[in-house]
């Protein structure tokens, strides 16, 4: 094989690696956010068991995403509709991430700030990240891919004196609530839909790059599963460090998001670092899914690519959703997030229609 061709293949593989790592980080963050937001009120200390359901679901979506990327390009109305659905699903992921971020920041670093201002700043940061294009966001996620494991490590370090009684009773509130929590946690697989879209930099690359083979299924599934497992372990840490009564008493969503950082008295640098890491991971989830949503919308409606009209529209939609939630309560994002599995399942089943490779 010529040296040039090998270099091109290596670079294309690196692009796919960036994509897979972004999907892994986003899935892990979504598992943690949805686990603390939706599964904990239902299953209390059993939320981490419920979150295990997100692993096979994320693996399935990643597998279908790989197949979609390897499938030949389709431009029919059904394909376009599916790409629109993909864009809307990823946009909802971004809405959920920003709503979580507002709750978490409001409980921790910005206690006296208004939710509307936090939402505005978070949206601005997210839009700025997305402005640099999907490739930029992906590289940022790739650079910070160790952030979630670092968060887990710090949480483990601060909870080294924790006792394991928080894990018991193992099934939490019982069979039915646990099943409901499991169903909610399936929605955490939605960010893995990122893998249904090829890395954006490949679009601008030459024919030789586009002709390079897509890496095997294991390449994607392992990275997505690793990311999701970190999310599960964070929920496990949250269960270990406090009892079910304390989870029940915590009430607010923002407080539950902060459990890992707040249970031990380690105020100051460690606590702030844990909070900053959580906030950064959440912001990256929002930026990556917004950017991917733009890519999906542009794929469905090429006219939306002119002057970044697609991104502008998505940012406006995001702003409208956040404004509505500022008035009506951010808990609406929690009600909607578990439903994300439905479009994810539809897209996974129809992955053949989402192909983007030259036939």
């Amino acid at each position: 094989m010529p040296e040039d061709q090998r270099t091109i293949e290596n670079r294309v593989r690196a692009s796919w690696r960036v994509r897979a790592c972004t999907a892994g980080l986003c899935t892990g963050a979504q598992v943690f956010l949805l686990g603390t937001g939706a599964a904990m009120p239902l299953a209390l200390n059993g939320a981490w068991i419920a979150s295990l359901c997100a692993l096979p679901a994320a693996a399935l979506v990643a597998l279908c995403g790989r197949r979609a990327c390897a499938a030949p390009r389709r431009d029919g109305p059904l394909s376009r509709a599916l790409f629109l659905l993909l864009g809307a699903t990823l946009l909802l992921c971004a809405v959920f991430a920003l709503a979580s971020l507002v709750n978490l920041a409001g409980e921790t670093l910005l206690v006296q700030a208004r939710a509307a201002w936090i939402a505005a700043y978070a949206l601005a940061a997210c839009a700025l990240c997305a402005c640099f294009g999907g490739a930029g966001v992906g590289r940022l996620c790739f650079s910070l891919r160790w952030m979630m494991p670092l968060l887990l490590g710090l949480a483990a370090l601060t909870q080294r004196e924790a006792r394991i009684e928080g894990l018991f009773p193992l099934l939490g509130t019982g069979g039915r609530p646990l099943l409901a929590a499991c169903a909610c946690m399936l929605g955490a697989s939605a960010p893995a839909l990122l893998l249904m879209l090829p890395p954006p930099e490949l679009r601008e690359a030459g024919e030789a790059a586009r002709a390079c083979p897509v890496p095997g299924a294991g390449f994607f599934v392992v990275r997505v599963l690793a990311g999701a497992a970190v999310g599960v372990l964070l929920l496990f840490a949250a269960s270990v460090c406090i009892t079910y009564e304390a989870i029940e008493a915590s009430g607010e969503w923002g407080v539950r998001l902060h459990i890992v950082a707040d249970t031990q008295a380690h105020e100051g640098v460690t606590q702030t670092l844990l909070t900053v890491l959580e906030l950064t991971a959440t912001e990256l989830l929002a930026a990556a899914t917004l950017s991917a949503a733009e890519q999906a919308i542009v794929r469905a409606l090429p006219a939306a690519g002119r002057h970044r009209a697609g991104l502008a529209a998505l940012v406006l939609l995001l702003a409208a959703a956040l404004s509505a939630m500022t008035v009506n309560g951010f808990v609406w994002a929690l009600y909607a997030a578990p439903l994300l599995f439905a479009p994810a399942l539809v897209l996974a089943l129809c992955h053949g229609r989402l192909g983007d490779r030259a036939p």
Binding site: L109, L110, A113, Y244, A246, A265, G268, V269
Partner: protein
């Protein structure tokens, strides 16, 4: 390079964002070091705080400032001189129907905001601790005023306000540092319980698997007439001891809680046994008879729920003879410690206080919360037999 830049940005966020929430000037805060809560007439609460004065006048001596003492719904018109029991510190008190309102009144009587982030101790009078109000008071202080979760919870049979008025540093250090060193010292000799921090006490009171313990403390008079002959000093409660140091207040022993209500006490010696059974003993030397031994625990203390439902504790100890004359055989020492363990377990059981944490073992046998709650552990615990097995090796 890019990673270094990102890391630097993260560190900048760490240092800069920490001050964003509720940023307050240090000069505008009233840093409370000790807080006392007493019951008052008509169901009111009197909250007394000892805080850094933060003014040169107070450091120089008594101040002419006045602060009204509020009395619930009907504020008393009589103003009271602001107390400055020692230079650099002031004592303020307010009476109101709730702890939160009393703290608000205190904030209103000073030009500064009450800040509990540097709180070192919360003293509650025994009369109040024996009611169900304890948990709500502690939660109000912790949650609403974001008090330091590491502050030690103390129960005193005396007036809690007077207790903190008497409290002063005797080593020429800051009061906060003095209290920190004091509690560290008592923890190391196992005469106060290991989980008496505010956050831990609240968590244990809310939990169904364990019960809370707090430090027991009282003032000792020079002319105490309540001396009990024949008992070691550590085997008494403060208030019944001769005063041997310039400090009037003595921290010794444990206040036992069942749920949110105080139900009993342990002496200093019994507290040492409790620490041992909890696996949290820090004391490294022991006097048995006329001999001194260095103590080490080669394996972890094991707590068990036996097949017949008995609450069991198994301890393995290595004792190294250090000084004095050895009078007791290995088996005698083991039997002596075993008896002490059983006595403490019986005392805990009588007080319905599962401070050792047998509930943590019991909950593991249940798959769902409903099953666990149906067992009614608090009631079940009171009827179980107790057993202790101590294995001693004298080296």
């Amino acid at each position: 390079m890019r990673r270094i830049a990102l890391f630097a940005a993260l560190l900048a966020c760490l240092t800069l964002l920490g001050g964003c929430g509720g940023g307050q000037e240090i000069e505008s805060c009233l840093f409370v070091l000790a807080m006392a809560v007493d019951p008052a007439e008509n169901g009111n609460l009197t909250v007394t705080v000892k805080a850094l004065s933060g003014t040169q006048e107070a450091v120089g001596g008594a101040s002419d400032e006045t602060a009204p003492q509020e009395d619930g719904e009907q504020a008393q018109p009589a103003a009271r001189t602001l107390e400055t029991p020692e230079p650099g510190y002031i004592v303020l008190s307010a009476t109101a129907p709730s702890c939160l309102r009393a703290l608000s009144l205190l904030s209103a009587t000073t030009p500064r905001t009450v800040n509990l982030s540097q709180l070192q101790e919360i003293v509650i009078s025994r009369t109040l601790a024996e009611t169900d109000a304890t948990l709500s008071i502690l939660k109000e202080i912790y949650a609403m005023y974001r008090a330091n979760g590491e502050a030690i919870v103390v129960v005193t049979p005396d007036d809690a306000g007077d207790f903190i008025r008497r409290q002063r540093a005797i080593l020429g250090v800051r009061l906060s540092k003095y209290l920190e060193v004091l509690f560290d010292h008592f923890s190391q000799i196992d005469t106060i319980p290991p989980d008496a921090q505010l956050a831990a006490v609240i968590s244990a009171m809310e939990s169904s698997v364990t019960d809370a313990t707090a430090v027991y403390a009282a003032g000792n008079a020079f002319d105490s007439t309540l001396l009990l002959s024949g008992a070691a000093d550590l085997d008494r409660l403060p208030g019944h001891l001769p005063r041997t140091s310039p400090a009037e207040n003595e921290y010794l022993g444990t206040a036992l809680f069942s749920g949110a209500r105080m139900t009993g006490t342990l002496t200093g010696e019994e507290t040492g046994i409790l620490c041992l059974m909890m696996g949290r003993a820090q004391r490294r030397s022991a006097f048995i008879g006329n001999a001194q031994y260095a103590v080490s625990l080669p394996t972890r203390v094991k707590r068990t729920l036996e097949a017949d439902g008995a609450l069991g504790v198994r301890v393995h100890m290595n004792l190294t003879h250090v000084a004095g004359v050895r009078e007791n055989a290995q088996a005698d020492i083991a039997a002596q410690i075993e008896r002490a363990c059983v006595d403490v377990l019986l005392k805990l059981r009588a007080a319905s206080c599962d401070a050792v944490g047998f509930g943590r073992l019991a909950i593991r046998r249940h798959l769902t919360i409903a099953d666990w709650e149906a067992q009614n552990w608090a009631q079940d615990y009171e009827g179980r037999p107790v057993r202790a097995a101590v294995h001693v090796k004298v080296l």
